[in-house]
């Protein structure tokens, strides 16, 4: 149960969907399917752009307000990076199935945990982006996301990337940030008590994870780093995942 | 309340005094609702159902509002409404059984019943003759004492005959059970015909519907645990029971037809003897 285990992903795992991805990171495993552009229902039809429909399904139990909230956050941020204007009146349907969440051997949880909203969001977001890439849905840019918690430890504020459920419980504030591949801030959701300064720190940390400049990557990997504030290099991860997929697709070249 | 089966082993009589192969009293009428295209009322013992059929008719511009199920297995339809849709709705009245349990419209058991009846009749009705249209079958359960699905199928068949909707043959149904319990692989267990509520609760059983006088099974529903060895006997008794039921409901139709001929409301037909070559 190492918290910042390297993310793993596989693309096009579902044979019948237009695009799909399976992504595991920090104890979460999520499978996503993307279908689209397909015919939108009359009530979802928009004359000038595609409607992006996001469905989040919990592993156990029925979806509730927590899932609806995640859906609405994801829907609005994904709509920003998908070229929705390319497909007026159409529907792009993203279904995110949560397969497993990090277990906690020390608590017997109820089936649904409200506090998990934040820690799962980056995983959901990342899976959705991968599935969209797998479905070759035209996008303005790719995007990466991260979750950072601020905990006070010995009167000092400390940032934890990809915090565990226990850490979130202990945290003063939790933040989810997503950046596009153009380094634009795409999504920022915060919860808890925090100062502007703290948020700035969080921003910098998350940006480092999400927007690692590629030129630097060789050097950084060499540095042994046990600082908890460092997460995986998400952008590089995305690129290498796609490289594998494209290589397989174009094996005939 | 466990079923007292001791009487059976002694006298070979069931709780209601029937022998193993006896049907309960079946009473049926057709043409019970003047306003409908077809209608029927049917009693199998104390299970009482009525049925109203409307159509085939084409729904107006508001399409798709019908709360029924389409004929799933009705023989190779192109799906683009080449065949008539058979929409079935089943309402179980609150007073139909002792426990007065409310069954909602979206009760999955009711939805399953509807789907089964639709699909069973859809396979016999000549739905291909009525493109774009809907045959809507409404069934109401007034009293419940076992063999519900069988009674519903029989009532629906009768009402469809009354509505003059062409069909390959009657779809007749009844239940069969076994005196064995599921655990005991009891070779000497007797099959039983037409289970009442009490027997249905305690003994393994199944519902069979067959097409006409054939051994072809349209519906086979078994919802209880039973040794596979008991199946053949129960199925044989059930199929045989379906033939008896077919005979009974056919007689209901013939009686009605004869009466209408006598009253002169329909023209007489020609007999075979009149049909010699010209």
């Amino acid at each position: 149960m190492t918290v910042s285990a390297a993310p793993e992903a596989a693309l096009s795992v579902l044979p019948r969907a237009d695009g799909s991805a399976k992504y595991s990171h920090a104890g979460y495993t999520i499978t996503a399917s993307v279908n689209g552009p397909i015919e939108a229902q009359r009530r979802d039809e928009h004359p000038y752009e595609a409607h992006v429909d996001v469905v989040v399904r919990p592993a156990a139990g029925v979806g509730g307000t927590r899932e609806r909230h995640l859906e609405s956050v994801l829907q609005s941020s994904l709509t920003q990076i998908i070229l929705v204007k390319n497909f007026p009146r159409a529907l792009i349907q993203i279904v995110l199935q949560i397969e497993s969440t990090p277990g906690n051997d020390y608590v017997n949880t109820k089936l649904f945990q409200a506090s998990l909203n934040f820690s799962i969001m980056p995983a959901l977001f990342q899976t959705a982006v991968l599935a969209l890439l797998s479905a070759a849905v035209p996008m303005r840019a790719t995007a990466t996301a991260s979750v950072v918690a601020v905990v006070s430890q010995d009167k000092e504020k400390k940032l934890i990337v990809d915090p565990s459920a226990r850490e979130i419980e202990a945290a003063q504030s939790v933040h989810v940030l997503a950046f596009t591949s153009h380094d634009e801030l795409l999504l920022a959701e915060s919860e808890g008590d925090f100062s502007v300064k703290e948020w700035d720190d969080v921003y910098e940390t998350a940006k480092k994870i999400c927007c690692q400049p590629e030129s630097q990557k060789a050097g950084i990997e060499m540095v042994p780093d046990d600082d908890n504030a460092r997460g995986p290099d998400m952008r590089q991860f995305l690129r290498s995942t796609l490289e594998e997929k494209v290589a397989a697709d174009l094996h005939w070249k | 309340m466990p079923l007292d089966t001791s009487a059976y082993s002694l006298a070979l009589l069931r709780v209601d005094g029937r022998r193993w192969n006896e049907l309960r009293r079946i009473h049926a009428q057709i043409r019970t609702q003047a306003a409908a295209d077809g209608s029927s009322y049917l009693e199998m013992g104390h299970t009482k159902v009525m049925c109203v059929v409307n159509g085939p008719s084409e729904p107006g511009p508001r399409r798709g509002g019908v709360g029924g199920t389409s004929a799933a297995g009705s023989g190779g339809g192109g799906g683009q409404s080449k065949d008539a849709e058979v929409a079935v709705s089943v309402v179980v009245a609150g007073f139909s059984s002792v426990d007065r349990k409310r069954r909602g419209k979206n009760d999955k058991r009711i939805l399953e019943l509807q789907s089964t009846i639709s699909s069973a009749l859809g396979a016999s009705l000549h739905t291909h003759l009525f493109p774009h249209s809907t045959i809507s079958i409404s069934l109401h359960v007034l009293s419940l004492d076992g063999s519900l699905l069988a009674a519903l199928i029989n009532a629906a068949t009768l009402a469809c005959v009354d509505a003059g909707i062409p069909m390959t043959d009657y779809v007749a149904a009844c239940t069969a059970g076994s005196t064995s319990t599921y655990a005991a692989n009891d070779e000497s267990a007797d099959p039983l015909l037409d289970l009442n509520h009490q027997e249905e609760q305690e003994l393994p059983g199944l519902t069979v519907a067959t097409l006409g006088d054939s051994d072809r099974v349209a519906v086979l529903v078994c919802e209880s645990r039973v040794q596979v060895g008991r199946l053949e006997g129960m199925l044989a008794v059930g199929v045989d029971g379906c033939k008896q039921v077919r005979g009974i409901i056919d007689r209901v139709v013939r009686d009605k037809g004869r009466r209408m001929l006598q009253e002169g409301t329909v023209e007489k037909g020609v007999g075979l003897e009149d049909m010699d070559l010209d």
Partner: protein
């Protein structure tokens, strides 16, 4: 919700024509299943089943609740099946289709009503506290025969599942966390499996096992037979469709029994493998890792 795509006339005719020549599109024999595979997750109670291109995930979970008033000595057990647009865009969330209702009913009858799970063993304090066991079935990809795959996944997930251990001392119920006490398996009585036959032809004279979606779309009827390896029928459902000779149905049941025995043996083997895997590097290693922290 877009309408489900219909196969073209050419496909319809071809599939039937091929069946008449005893051929299937994937060159399988009539009574042969596609490769069936079950994998278990790291968590207890998660089973993923793949049957050709059909994929089903089942997850079992448990929590302590109050038993139903009319059944004070029984635990609560439910199987939830909701088909999401992931399986096909024609499924909509919160609007059950006929497929979903029938699937849900079949699993209910096969697993729950047949008494596969000993619900009495879920009772903790009579009338006050009991376990509520729930299995969520998620169809990830729908390429036909979702019923058999789902049923297998549900049984596999439940047999793999471990619920937290409990004790009652002086009327006080303690539920132990996995760290305190090793979780315990459910009280399991028998393993039922579904075998679905699809019928083709004017009189339903051709019967196939494990139909793909393309085959399901042109079939004239189907019959799902649920059995356990002891030869007990748990349920049979031929819900309408073209009538089929009674004799064929009996033959189908006999073949289904052999399939169920195969399933049963396969699942036993996979569960045993999983336990081995967990023993080797799983549980003990995990415990030491936790102690380090």
């Amino acid at each position: 919700m877009p309408r489900e795509a219909e196969p073209s006339l050419n496909e319809r005719q071809f599939v039937l024509q091929a069946l008449q020549e005893n051929l299937r599109l994937d060159s399988r024999e009539a009574d042969r299943y596609r490769p069936l595979e079950v994998t278990f997750g790291d968590e207890y109670g998660v089973a993923k089943v793949s049957l050709g291109k059909t994929r089903v995930l089942a997850k079992a979970s448990a929590e302590v609740t109050v038993p139903y008033a009319d059944r004070p000595l029984d635990g609560v057990f439910q199987i939830a099946t909701e088909l999401s647009p992931m399986a096909s865009p024609s499924f909509e969330v919160n609007r059950p289709t006929e497929t979903e209702v029938l699937l849900s009913r079949l699993l209910e009858k096969t697993v729950r009503r047949s008494g596969a799970l000993d619900t009495e063993s879920l009772c903790l304090v009579a009338g006050q506290k009991c376990w509520s066991v729930r299995v969520d079935v998620h169809v990830l990809s729908h390429d036909g025969n979702v019923i058999d795959a789902s049923c297998f996944a549900v049984v596999a997930a439940l047999r793999h599942f471990r619920k937290p251990d409990t004790s009652i001392e002086g009327g006080i119920l303690t539920v132990y966390t996995p760290a305190e006490r090793e979780p315990v398996p459910l009280g399991w009585l028998h393993s039922p499996f579904c075998v679905t036959w699809s019928y083709f032809g004017e009189e339903g004279e051709m019967a196939l096992l494990d139909a793909t979606r393309a085959e399901e779309q042109v079939r004239v009827g189907s019959c799902t037979i649920s059995l356990n390896r002891h030869g007990e029928i748990c349920q049979i459902a031929k819900l309408g469709g073209t009538p089929v000779e009674a004799v064929i149905l009996l033959q189908c049941t006999a073949i289904a029994l052999t399939k169920v025995k195969e399933f049963s043996a396969y699942l036993d083997k996979k569960l045993a493998e999983d336990i081995k895997r967990r023993d080797a590097g799983g549980r003990s290693a995990e415990l030491t890792a936790e102690n380090d922290r």
